[in-house]
């Protein structure tokens, strides 16, 4: 099969390669861009550990071919701290503080799924937070810590000017 030349922006850096059409985006990220924070669990769309953002939307990187993201922007878990000169993103800090991880295999997928909608989480009840993370499986935590971490991160990131429950509105 003829290789196809693609140019993908990953976390702000341009990656240019000639790839087989059948190369999955998850493999492109890990083996070509050498970013191993994106984990691969099931490779058929069920576990969510491979979740990355393409043009801002969380999607499964194991269900996209690398050729499909030619000319597009991909963001992976490495971006969270890289954008803060190495400091953890508040969502990562919250996962740490609230015991939102044990082995950590699932964590990058959770982070990339939740991060774009953190500003909406304040208006979500627990059922909505659970719906938000329903596409990510965790075999360790039992999810309680993850739900707490998401809520806590949203609270920390909300701007002080926003009305708060119990406060004047």
């Amino acid at each position: 099969m003829t290789r196809i030349r693609i140019t993908v922006t990953i976390n702000g850096a341009v990656v240019e390669r000639a790839v087989d059409p059948r190369m999955l985006l998850s493999d492109f990220i890990r083996h070509e861009a050498r970013l191993t924070g994106t984990h691969v669990g099931c490779e058929h769309g069920v576990c969510g550990s491979c979740t990355v953002q393409v043009d801002g939307s969380p999607v499964r990187s194991c269900l996209l071919f690398a050729v499909q993201v030619d000319g597009r922007e991909v963001r992976t878990v490495e971006a969270l701290a890289a954008e803060r000169d190495g400091a953890l993103h508040p969502l990562q800090e919250a996962f740490h503080a609230e015991q939102g991880l044990q082995c950590g295999f699932c964590t990058p997928g959770f982070l990339m799924s939740v991060e774009p909608v953190l500003d909406r989480v304040e208006e979500m009840d627990d059922a909505q937070i659970r719906a938000l993370i329903s596409g990510n499986l965790c075999r360790c935590t039992g999810y309680e810590g993850i739900v707490c971490a998401v809520r806590e991160a949203a609270r920390k990131m909300a701007s002080p000017s926003r009305s708060r429950p119990g406060g004047a509105s």
Binding site: M1, L24, G45
Partner: protein
């Protein structure tokens, strides 16, 4: 867990896509959101020789109202349908149904056309569109045809789409004033494929008598089906707890759903009966509140 090799083409127009699908010496497959096709390819249950990626065809991505009818382009993402205020206001059944499709990441990528063409018997949108009497516009190089939903779905994972045809549009008629809807299903875990479900609509006249009802069933048969006799029995009088229960029993009377490791056929039939009875009452309540106009 890696797909077999294939040739990849990304057409710039529907005409180009149709020409690629008509190629004699290939086994082409349309690639839309990839949320059903790519898992099958990763398992090598599907091995197309040519993938025709339609994600560049922006002209197939739209939701608009023309006259009284809703038109949805095949490449419209689930997430876009979910967020559409037009759909939520006039066809709330679709909004309720699409929220139950998989998870947020799946709905960001998956398309309406892909859900329909994949034709999984437990997929939500085919059932909701059956209740709404939708039709599908299909194109090939030799022209376009419009198929009623009942002609489109022919079996489990089977449609009447020919290999050289592209599904381009879904057309949904308006609901009469005084109609209430309900989509409901049961899953073991949030976002899983459902064990059973239903989409119902109930139209009431100003005195509260039912003028029209639609009951479409999920997981009851290899394709979405309508319970025509159960619908007819509701018409001409108010919908009560008793008539809803009777109609639900009629709806599942001749069903023989499959048994598998997830549930027995008998369980599925009982489940669907309960869901239909409940949904009819919810839809009646919503009709009284005077939703879509």
């Amino acid at each position: 867990m890696k797909p077999a090799p294939f040739r990849y083409e990304k057409p710039r127009s529907v005409e180009q896509a149709l020409a690629l699908l008509a190629a004699e010496d290939e086994e082409p497959k349309v690639l839309a959101g990839g949320q059903s096709l790519v898992p099958l390819m990763n398992f090598r249950l599907a091995r197309p020789s040519l993938l025709v990626d339609i994600n560049g065809l922006a002209e197939l991505s739209y939701i608009r109202r023309e006259g009284s009818r809703l038109r949805i382009g095949a490449l419209t993402r689930h997430a876009v349908l979910e967020e559409s205020p037009l759909v939520e206001r006039h066809w709330p059944l679709l909004t309720e149904a699409v929220r139950l499709v998989g998870h947020p990441q799946i709905r960001n990528a998956g398309t309406i056309g892909g859900s329909l063409a994949h034709a999984d018997p437990t997929a939500e949108l085919p059932v909701a569109l059956a209740a709404l009497d939708a039709g599908f516009v299909v194109r090939s190089r030799s022209g376009a045809r419009e198929l009623h939903w009942s002609e489109f779905f022919v079996g489990q994972l089977q449609t009447s789409l020919q290999p050289d045809e592209l599904l381009v549009e879904t057309v949904v008629p308006a609901l009469p004033a005084g109609t209430g809807c309900r989509f409901d299903e049961f899953t073991r875990r949030h976002g899983d494929f459902a064990l059973g479900g239903c989409a119902v609509t109930v139209s009431l006249d100003p005195d509260g008598a039912c003028t029209r009802a639609a009951i479409a069933l999920l997981g009851a048969a290899p394709t979405p089906i309508r319970a025509a006799r159960a619908e007819a029995e509701l018409v001409g009088r108010p919908v009560t707890a008793e008539s809803a229960a009777r109609s639900a029993a009629r709806a599942v009377q001749d069903l023989d759903p499959t048994s598998d490791l997830h549930a027995s056929g008998e369980y599925r039939r009982d489940l669907i009966e309960s869901l239909v009875a409940r949904s009819l009452l919810t839809a009646r309540g919503r009709a009284r509140e005077g939703v879509p106009a």
